[in-house]
Amino acid sequence: MSALIRIERVSKTFGSGVPALREVSLQVERGEILGIAGRSGAGKSTLLRMMNLLERPDSGTVEVAGRELTGLSARELRAARQGIGMIFQGYNLLQNLSVADNVAFPLRLHGRLNPPRLRQRIAECLELVGLAGKAGSYPAQLSGGQKQRVAIARALANQPAILLCDEPTSALDAETTRGLLQTLQAVNTEMKVTIVIVSHELPALGALCRRVAVIEEGRVAEDFLLSDLSTPRSTALGRELAFHGAEAAAAQRQGAIHA
């Protein structure tokens, strides 16, 4: 596997003067699901938002698919962002647009598809997230889980190589979270989309991720494969993640036996 996202010695300090990130380096391999865990204010969201430059680092470099984002012009950055989907805790759908128009939003920004192709792509994306029947609904008519699915469909409309997820399940109940995690899993395995997910919900990360990075005080405290159960973990969050990872793996094996 080759690194699809390569973050090198990135630092960021906000107005408050406390550094959010201190010389962080992190790589995301092509095709993996990487979780980023950390306490509130540890800098995990800031790190995720560096990956499409919603947050610009004070120093350091952010390379995505071989392009250094911080050196791009505004136009080049917009083009690069088309290859990076993103979903948010608050869904961030356009409330006054129908589900179909929300999914079409990124496609229309760049206007490359003719109307029949556009309709076809909208239908494909909604099918993918199991909302084929909701094309004409408005976000206000949907549940939280459905809204997040629309957001996933929208984020994938441009067929990006990467999907960034900023606390995608934090506003959802446990049942809905499970369904959403399965959708993300399918997006990864079937569409080969690399996923980076920030969450404070450790069971969710344990169930979904191949690898996790623990952020503490603006630094990567540890970074390990969840399948590696032999190495002792140095952080409390790391130990909890390893536990949830092992538990999810065991549940999956049992599931396979019963099936």
Binding site: L54, N92, L97
Partner: protein
């Protein structure tokens, strides 16, 4: 006065219709200018407010200052002060067309502030999502801000229309005519209270109509 009330009202009808036409003309021109010029100005004010630092700082301050200055004028003072400008623009300083000039000048910064305020209520997250999808600044204005704020903008225009219906009464000072002017000339100067009541009734109907239409349209546009 030999006539009955009924006859007097009938005799006044042509004048009332003319006045109504003048009022609608003044209002139409003022609102059009507000939307066409005040709307973009409001977007600029909003953008300037979001980036208080950086390269827009000075132009943003100048813009805000200009808008505040223009809004400081009591309308009747603005009306008189703009006479030379009005004459330059329309060739005359009397009549509804001439009165429409100061109305427009007052409506532009008024609507700009209303637009700024309305756009500020669009949640930041939606704008961020559009940025993450690679939207240009213009696309964010046209495809996010205006879409998400559309019902608020209709309500802002409704507020503006009702305010300026009453401002247009002042336009009688420069011979602008209109319903308000009619009310002052007959009802006030000539003590014909029934005419006064009639004109006020027409204005009440107009205001109710504008408010009803605006609120209804806003509700239909709002899918939130």
């Amino acid at each position: 006065m030999p006539e009955t009330l009924h006859e007097r009202l009938l005799a006044l009808l042509p004048e009332l219709l003319t006045a109504l036409g003048q009022t609608l003309l003044m209002l139409g021109i003022g609102l059009l200018a507000a939307v066409v010029l005040g709307g973009p100005l409001g977007v600029l004010l909003y953008q300037a407010g979001r980036h208080p630092a950086g390269r827009f700082r000075l132009p943003a301050r100048l813009l805000g200052w200009a808008v505040n200055t223009l809004r400081s004028f009591p309308f009747i003072v603005l009306l008189v002060a703009l006479v030379p400008f009005t004459r330059l623009l329309t060739g005359t300083s009397i009549g509804p067309l001439a009165a429409a000039v100061p109305l427009a000048i007052a409506a532009i910064p008024y609507f700009a502030r209303l637009v700024e305020q309305t756009l500020a209520e669009v949640p930041q997250g939606v704008i961020e999502a559009a940025l993450a999808m690679g939207a240009t600044p213009l696309q964010i204005v046209l495809r996010v801000l205006l879409v998400e704020a559309r019902s608020g903008l209709v309500l802002a225009l409704t507020v503006l229309a009702i305010s300026f219906l009453s401002y247009s009464a002042v336009a009688g000072v420069v011979g602008g005519g209109g319903i308000g002017d009619l009310a002052i000339r007959y009802g006030y100067y000539r003590f014909e209270t029934d005419i006064m009541i009639l004109t006020v009734a027409v204005l009440v109907v107009l205001v109710q109509g504008i408010q009803f239409t605006g609120a209804r349209l806003a509700r239909r546009l709002d899918k939130r």
